[in-house]
């Protein structure tokens, strides 16, 4: 049994135009002690996915279908009180923009102790002080400063305080949503290294949500690429970033600088993700995919097991032989951009 099994999860948001399908049929598994990265552009549903796992979807959001099994129990089936017991004790998070994730009117210690006392009532003052000291040392903060207010901390320190809080109850699963976006590269590197080390000590699994491929490369074992609410591709980090089997991943990979090919031009995938209120049929990436065929626009792709990867592309099996050289060529992508411009120009002209 995996620690976390997400199966065909659908998370929708109510909007005036109808439900927006923010997460649509996402499945994956996470083993104990394993780190899974979730990457994709803004709005692809990665944060929604995380929020639905920890159970803090906003009022307009709801799970429409599918299951989230944590240690075998379906979270979507639980009552509020049952879920509350699992929060932080079993599943904690380092929130997006962790800089503003601490309540400004309470000291860091008060906020960590609050988490401890909520889940372990009867914990004595000495014990909770010990936990705070231990966690502060773990993330490299001076325990004497635990009685400071968040505004007395620098950005990096606040981030580490947030991580200290997330670790305080030694949860089995930590959701890290853009854990380092607000930080400079040096601080980012320090924090990622430290998180890795801490994780080995606590033996927790981590779900790292980011749009920064380098963060995933540094911290994760496996990676799940999301596009417009669906899984595009999933597999071990080396495979996904080495030999991807989905055109979107190929494009995404080429959108980041490669240290081995510093002269390589960075590419941007032309166009925008589709509307999620009334998404197009077929493959959601078809509209922006330079290799798309009529089949892509009509028929939703199934998972193809390739070389340890799971790719949701109709042509995953042909990628190696026919499509990869084509997709690896930056001109392929710029041509689609040009073609699309020409196309929209025509539409406008009519």
């Amino acid at each position: 049994m995996s620690l976390l099994e997400v199966e065909d999860l659908e998370v929708y948001y109510e909007t005036e135009d109808g439900p927006a399908q923010a997460v649509d049929g996402v499945s994956f598994e996470l083993e104990e002690g394993e780190n899974l990265g979730i990457v994709g552009e803004s709005g692809c549903g990665k944060t929604t996915l995380a929020k639905s796992i920890i159970g803090i979807l906003p009022d307009a959001g709801y799970v429409n279908g599918g299951e989230i099994r944590f240690k075998g129990d379906d979270l979507t089936d639980m009552t509020g009180a049952q879920r509350r017991r699992l929060k932080w004790e079993e599943i904690s998070m380092v929130a997006q923009s962790a800089m503003n994730s601490l309540d400004p009117v309470y000291t860091i210690r008060e906020q960590i102790v609050e988490a401890i006392e909520t889940h372990r009532p009867g914990t004595g003052r000495t014990e909770s002080t010990e936990i705070v000291t231990e966690m502060f040392e773990l993330v490299g903060l001076d325990p004497d400063r635990a009685d400071d207010y968040p505004h007395q901390f620098s950005g990096g320190m606040r981030q580490r305080a947030m991580i200290a809080m997330a670790l305080a109850l030694e949860p089995s699963l930590i959701l890290a949503d853009e854990p380092t976006t607000a930080l400079d590269v040096i601080m980012q590197d320090q924090i990622l290294k430290r998180m890795g080390k801490i994780q080995d000590e606590v033996n927790s699994s981590m779900l790292v949500i980011t749009h920064d491929v380098s963060v995933v490369a540094e911290t994760c074992d496996r990676v799940l690429v999301m596009y417009a609410g669906k899984v595009a591709e999933e597999g071990p980090v080396e495979e996904i970033f080495g030999q991807p089997y989905h055109p979107y991943t190929i494009g995404l990979k080429r959108a980041f600088p490669n240290i081995r090919k510093p002269t390589q031009d960075l590419l941007s995938i032309a166009g925008y993700p589709p509307e999620l209120v009334d998404p197009p049929t077929g493959c959601r990436f078809a509209e922006r995919c330079p290799m798309a065929t009529d089949r892509c626009r009509e028929e939703e792709p199934e998972a193809h097991q390739m070389n340890g990867l799971r790719s949701y592309c109709h042509y995953a099996e042909d990628i190696d032989t026919e499509l990869r050289p084509y997709a690896d060529n930056p001109e392929t992508w710029s041509q689609t951009a040009a073609a699309r411009k020409a196309e929209t120009g025509n539409v406008g002209g009519d």
Partner: protein, 325 residues
């Protein structure tokens, strides 16, 4: 700079403000048309008697001498004697101010307790029918003048139904051993009910609306998500985290509003014939009773200024981010 030096600086500011208010008042009453002595001096008096009376009040002195004496007396809280009753003004204030305070504080505390709570709830349950109806109620409460509501209440419940007393603070002929005995008597509470409710209803809208919009702002902050992820109970998040942060602007507003409440007591005291300081101030002005009018004005102005000062201090206590630089 520390908290202590902030308090010192702020206190100096307070003294300067009070001095300015006093000076303006001194000038104001002397610029007003009409002769203050007309009240104490009768036209049938001989010139000599008239001169003596004017001298006894010091009104024959040049203006600057009067001003210096006025300031000297102000420092020792001596506002002179009433032209009307010959009582010391401090005694007049001591008689009427407590009546105002009892009415205002009762209405104020009830209004802010209920208003803040409803504000928290309506911010939390945004988009619900409850939110819509509280906002409409609050806007109505803020928009209808108190004297109008007061008159309607008096008409319906006093004149037509006869369930509340029509005027005053106690029934005629009631003897009370002391102020507090009176305050806790059933008769007084019956008299207090209607004006306190009318005022409370009016006061309630302000904290409610501020609290609601402040809540909406706080609820969109990331730390609220973290609180939910921590598995805290809804009520804990609502009050301990969201409301606690959203309180800050309400505290400032409350302190200032309380000052104005004491000062703005004129209308409601007149409608309900409540023997408070606002009503007394109006009467003093009409009678050209300078000392009483000056004294009551200063007390009301000082209340507003001092409560502002309290608000500044309270803010520093409530929000750790406030520094005293």
């Amino acid at each position: 700079m520390g908290k202590a030096s902030f308090v010192v600086r702020r206190t100096l500011q307070l003294v300067v403000t009070l001095w300015a208010v006093g000076t303006v008042l001194f000038g104001l009453f002397r610029l007003m048309p009409g002769d203050p002595t007309s009240y104490v001096v009768s036209s049938q008096m001989t010139q000599e008697a008239r001169r003596q009376i004017i001298e006894s009040y010091g009104l024959n002195e040049p203006l600057y001498v009067q001003y210096i004496k006025f300031l000297q007396n102000l420092v020792v809280l001596d506002f002179g004697q009433s032209f009307h009753s010959n009582q010391p003004v401090t005694q007049v204030i001591a008689t009427y101010l407590p009546n105002t305070l009892v009415l205002m504080l009762t209405a104020f505390i009830a209004a802010y307790t209920i208003g803040i709570t409803l504000g928290v709830l309506s911010g939390w349950y945004r988009g619900s029918r409850f939110e819509r109806s509280t906002v409409i109620t609050a806007l109505t409460a803020r928009s209808v003048p108190t004297f109008y509501v007061g008159l309607i209440v008096l008409w319906i419940f006093g004149a037509e139904l006869g369930v509340i007393p029509m005027s005053g603070m106690t029934s005629l002929g009631t003897q009370n051993a002391g102020f507090w005995e009176m305050v806790f008597s059933v008769d007084f509470l019956q008299h207090l009910l209607a004006p306190a409710l009318v005022l409370g209803f009016y006061f309630m809208g302000y904290p409610l609306l501020i609290m609601r919009s402040s809540m909406l702002e706080v609820l969109s902050e990331d730390f609220i998500d973290v609180c939910r992820a921590k598995g805290l109970k809804e009520r804990t998040i609502m009050f301990k985290h969201a409301a606690r942060n959203a309180m800050l602007p309400v505290v400032t507003a409350a302190a200032i509003a309380l000052g104005y409440a004491v000062g703005g007591s004129v209308l409601i005291e007149t409608v309900f014939a409540w023997p408070g300081i606002g009503r007394e101030m109006v009467r003093a002005v009409l009678r050209r009773d300078f000392p009483v009018a000056q004294g009551t004005f200063i007390v009301l102005a000082a209340t507003i200024i001092i409560l502002n000062f309290v608000a500044d201090l309270a803010y520093g206590y409530l929000d750790p981010r406030v520094t005293y630089d």
